[in-house]
C-alpha cells in the first residue's frame, strides 16, 4: 500500500494515478493542464431547505405506495371476477383478453408504483451528498506475495509432488484423473441410435401411392392442373403413427404440373408423368418446406432463407444458400390410374450432411 500513500502526497496525481508501483504505462503527451478543483460543494435541494417541499415529496411517495396497494387489490378482484375467455375491444390495442389486460395493468401498476415511490423517496428525501471512498490496488503488495510463494513452495515440498522422485506416482495420478471423465463421455453413447443409412431412405418405394396432404385421398394425374402445386405424402404413413413426424420430415413432396414444352431438363421430364413432376419439398439448405410457388416462373421459394429452386429445370438452385437441387421422385401411374412412386429418392432429401456424397 506504500505506493498509494506516495501518490497521494503527489499533488499532480490526476485521474490516471497508478495504484501499484510495478505497473507499466505508455508515455503520455501532456499531463493534466488544469488542476482538479476537487469535489464540488453539495448543493442543497428544495426539499433540504423548504419543509413544505419535503412534505410535498412525502405525500407524493405515500400516494405512489397507496396506488400500488389499490392496484394489488384490483389484481385480486380482476382475477376473481373476469372470466378467463372474455374478449373485449380496447382502443388502441384492439381485441384483447379482458383478464390478461386487467391483470397486466394492475400488476404492472402495483410493481411500478412501489419502485417509483422508493426512487422518489431516495431522490428527494434521502441525502444526495456525494462522498468519496478510497480504492485499493487489486493486486497484493510485494511482502504478501512473497509470503504466499514461500508457503506454497513449502506445501509443494511437503507433498513431494514437484520433486524428481515419486514422479511415477504423480504421473499416474494425472493419468487417472484425466481418464475418469471418459466414463461420462461413454455414457452419452446411448442418447440415440447410430446414424446408419437412416437419412438415405424414406417411406417412398415402388408402387406407393401419392396422397393429397390435406385430404388424404390418393391423387390421379387429372387432379393436378397446369400451374397448380399439390402438397402430398406417401399413402403408407398415417398421422397417428408413432414415427409419423420423422417419416414426413423426409418424405413430404410437392407435385406440380408444367406444360411439357416448358420443362427444360429432359431427365426431369422423364421422371415425371405427363408433365407432373414430384419433388421433395424439404429444402436442401436446412430443411424447411420450400413451397412458396410462383406458377408463371415455376420457381419454388423456401420461406426460411429464400433459397429459390427452378422446378422446370430439375429444381436447380437459382438463389439463396441452398447447395443442391431438391431431389425428384420418379412417378408413374398404377393400373387403377393413381399416381405412384416408381422408387425411393435417388438422393437423400433434406439438408445435406457429411456422408451424403
Amino acid at each position: 500500500m506504500s505506493s498509494q500513500t506516495e501518490h497521494h502526497n503527489d499533488v499532480s496525481g490526476g485521474p490516471d494515478t497508478p495504484l501499484m508501483k510495478t505497473e507499466q504505462a505508455p508515455a503520455t503527451v501532456a499531463e493534466h493542464p488544469f488542476a482538479d478543483p476537487g469535489l464540488p460543494e453539495h448543493q442543497p435541494r428544495r426539499q433540504d431547505i423548504d419543509e413544505r417541499a419535503a412534505k410535498r415529496s412525502e405525500r407524493m411517495v405515500t400516494l405512489l405506495f397507496l396506488t400500488s396497494i389499490l392496484a394489488t387489490v384490483g389484481f385480486i378482484v380482476a382475477f376473481a371476477l373476469i372470466p378467463v375467455d372474455e374478449i373485449v375491444h380496447i382502443w388502441p390495442f384492439g381485441h384483447v383478453s379482458a383478464l390478461n389486460f386487467a391483470l397486466g395493468l394492475t400488476l404492472g401498476t402495483a410493481l411500478f408504483c412501489v419502485g417509483a415511490g422508493a426512487v422518489h423517496w431516495a431522490r428527494t428525501l434521502m441525502s444526495d451528498a456525494e462522498v468519496p471512498e478510497e480504492r485499493h490496488a487489486v493486486g497484493a503488495p510485494e511482502p504478501v506475495k512473497e509470503d504466499v510463494l514461500t508457503e506454497f513452495r513449502a506445501g509443494v515440498r511437503e507433498s513431494g509432488i514437484g520433486l524428481g522422485r515419486r514422479k511415477l506416482m504423480r504421473n499416474t495420478m494425472i493419468g487417472a484423473v484425466g481418464l475418469v471423465p471418459l466414463s461420462g463421455v461413454v455414457l452419452l453413447r446411448d442418447l440415440g441410435p447410430a446414424p446408419g443409412d437412416k437419412l438415405f431412405h424414406t417411406a417412398w418405394a415402388e408402387g406407393v401411392r401419392i396422397v393429397n396432404q390435406n385430404t388424404g385421398e390418393p391423387l390421379r394425374p387429372e387432379d393436378i392442373t397446369v400451374g397448380s402445386l399439390v402438397q402430398a405424402a406417401p399413402a403408407t404413413i398415417d398421422h397417428h403413427d408413432e414415427d409419423f413426424h420423422a417419416q414426413i420430415a423426409k418424405a413430404a413432396v410437392m407435385l406440380v404440373r408444367i406444360e411439357p414444352e416448358d420443362i427444360k431438363d429432359p431427365r426431369s421430364a422423364e421422371w415425371g408423368h405427363e408433365g407432373i413432376l414430384c419433388y421433395s419439398k424439404i429444402c436442401t439448405h436446412i430443411g424447411c418446406p420450400a413451397t412458396l410457388y410462383e406458377q408463371q416462373t415455376h420457381h419454388a421459394l423456401c420461406p426460411c432463407h429464400q433459397s429459390t429452386f427452378d422446378l422446370a429445370d430439375g429444381a436447380r438452385v437459382l438463389f439463396g444458400p441452398a447447395g443442391h437441387p431438391l431431389p425428384q421422385l420418379r412417378i408413374g401411374k398404377d393400373e387403377e390410374g393413381y399416381l405412384v412412386a416408381l422408387a425411393d429418392f435417388e438422393q437423400p432429401p433434406g439438408p445435406s450432411f457429411w456422408e451424403r456424397g
Partner: protein, 547 residues
Amino acid sequence: MSTATDERTTARRGKAPAGERLADWADGRLGVYGAAKYGMRKVFPDHWSFLLGEIALFSFIIVLLTGVYLTLFFVPSMAQVEYHGSYVPMQGQLMSEAYASTLDISFDVRGGLLVRQIHHWGALIFVVAIFIHMMRVFFTGAFRKPREINWLFGFTLFILALFTGLTGYSLPDDLLSGTGIRFMEGAILATPVVGTWIQMLLFGGEFPGHDIIPRFFVIHVLLLPGLLLALVVAHLILIVFHKHTHYAGPGKTNTNVVGMPFFPVYMAKAGGFTFIVFGVITLIAGTVTINPVWTIGPYRPETVSTNAQPDWYLGFSEGLVRMMPGWEIVLFGDYTLNLGLLIPLGVFPAMLVVLMLYPFFESWVTKDTREHHIAQRPRNVPTRTAFGMAWLSAYFVALVAGGNDVWAINFNLSINAITWFCRIGFFVLPVLVFFLTRRICLGLQRRDRDKVLHGRETGIIKRLPHGEFIEVHEPLPPAERYKLTAHEQPRPLSLPPAVDENGVERKVGPLEKLRARLSRGYYGEQAQIPKATAEEYREITSGHGHH
C-alpha cells in the same frame, strides 16, 4: 471476539431492541456486523449508463420467477394428443403435449398468459439490456485492467443468454419453434464428419423424434439458468470487489470512487428500480401480445409459415446464413461439405470471440498494465470507438439480412436486392463506418479543445464600435475545464533505433513492428487531437478580445 460480544449482549439484555438482538444472534453465527461494516456504506457512483446492467439483472430475476411458475403447468412432452381445451380453432387437432399445455397456459390458466408474456418479454429485454450494457462497457473502456475477467464473465453471460433463449422459444412446439429446431438440426448435420452422429444423439433418433423437447426443457430450466445464476453472482462479486468505475470529473480520481452509500440511497434506488423494471415489463406483457403460439398451430415438419424468424438476439446469426451463397462441395466424390451453412455458422462465433478477446488485444497493443477506474469518453479513444462501431455495423447488416423477407414485404423491395445489399454491405460498411467514426471522434475532440480554450457560446451577439459583430464566449467553470482535459493522451510506441549505440544492428521481430504500427493507429497524430494546454489557455485568455 465472541466472548466480548456475549458480554456486551448480556450486559444490555432486556434493553436492546428486538432488531439489534436478532442482528446479534445472526452475527454470532454469520458475522453480519463484519460484512455490514464492509458493505453497508459502500459507495456506488451514479450515472444513467450504469443502469443498463441493472436492467439486465432485474429482468433476469423476473424471468427466473415467471419461469418457475410456467414449469408448474408446462408439460415437456412430444407425445401426440388430441386437443380439447377452450381454444376453439384447435379443437380435435393432433398436437404434442408441450404445445397443448402451452395453449392451456394461454387460455385456461387465469393469469397464465400474462406470466408467459412477462417471461418472453423479460427474456427479450434481458438480452437487449446485456447487449447495450456490454456496448457501454466496451465504448467507455471499462473492460480495462482489472476488469478483463469480469468482461469475460459478462460475455459468457451474453452467450449463455442467447442459448437459454433459443432452448426456451423452442419449447412450445408450435410451428415457429419447430422450424427453429429444424434449423438447428440442419446446422448440426452440416458439421463435417460427426454431424449425423451428433444429430442422432441429440434428437434420440431421426428428426424430430420424441426426445428433443424434454431434453431442451432440462437444459432450459436447469442447466443454463444454473450456469447463468452462478456467473451473475460471480459478476456481481467482482463488481463489488473492484468497485464500480466512474467518469472523470472534479474530485474523481483513479484512486477513489465518488457516489452515494449503499445504505440507504443506493439500496432504495436499486431496489426501487427493480420494481420499476418488473412493472414496465408487466405493463408491456399485459398490453402487447408476444409469440401468439395459437395462431399458426402445432409443429409439423411438412408445414411452415412465412416470416419465420428467431427472436431478435439470434437474428444476426440468421442473417449470416441468409446472406451466404449456396456453396457446397463434395470431397473425393463421397463426402459433402455444406459451406452454405458452415461458413456463416463459423462467422457467428468468430464475430463474438473477436469482441470477447478485444480487451486483451488492446492491452497488448498499448503495453498498459495499470489499473483503470475512470471510464473513458468514446471520443477520446477514436480507434477503439471506430472498431466497435465497425463491429456493430457488421452486426446490424447481418441483423437486417436476418429479416430480409420482412423488409421486402413491408417496403415492397426485391428480396434478392436486399440480400445482395447485405452481402456487399457486410464487408464494405464496417470499413466506411470505421473511418467515419474516427473522423467524428476527432471532430468532437476539436470541439472539446475549443470549448476549453474559448469557452462556451453564449448566444449573445455584440457589435463592436467599428461595426463587426462577435459572439460573446463565456469561459468554462474550472470543474468543466478539468473534466474536458482529464483524459490522458499516450504517445504511440516507437521502435528502438535500428542500430544501437554500439553500432550493432538491432533485431526487431515482425510482431513488435506490428505492435508499433497498431500503436500509431491508436495514438498517432491522426488518432488524437492534442488537448488544450495551460500555456495555450493563458495565451488566449490574456489576449485582447480574441475569441
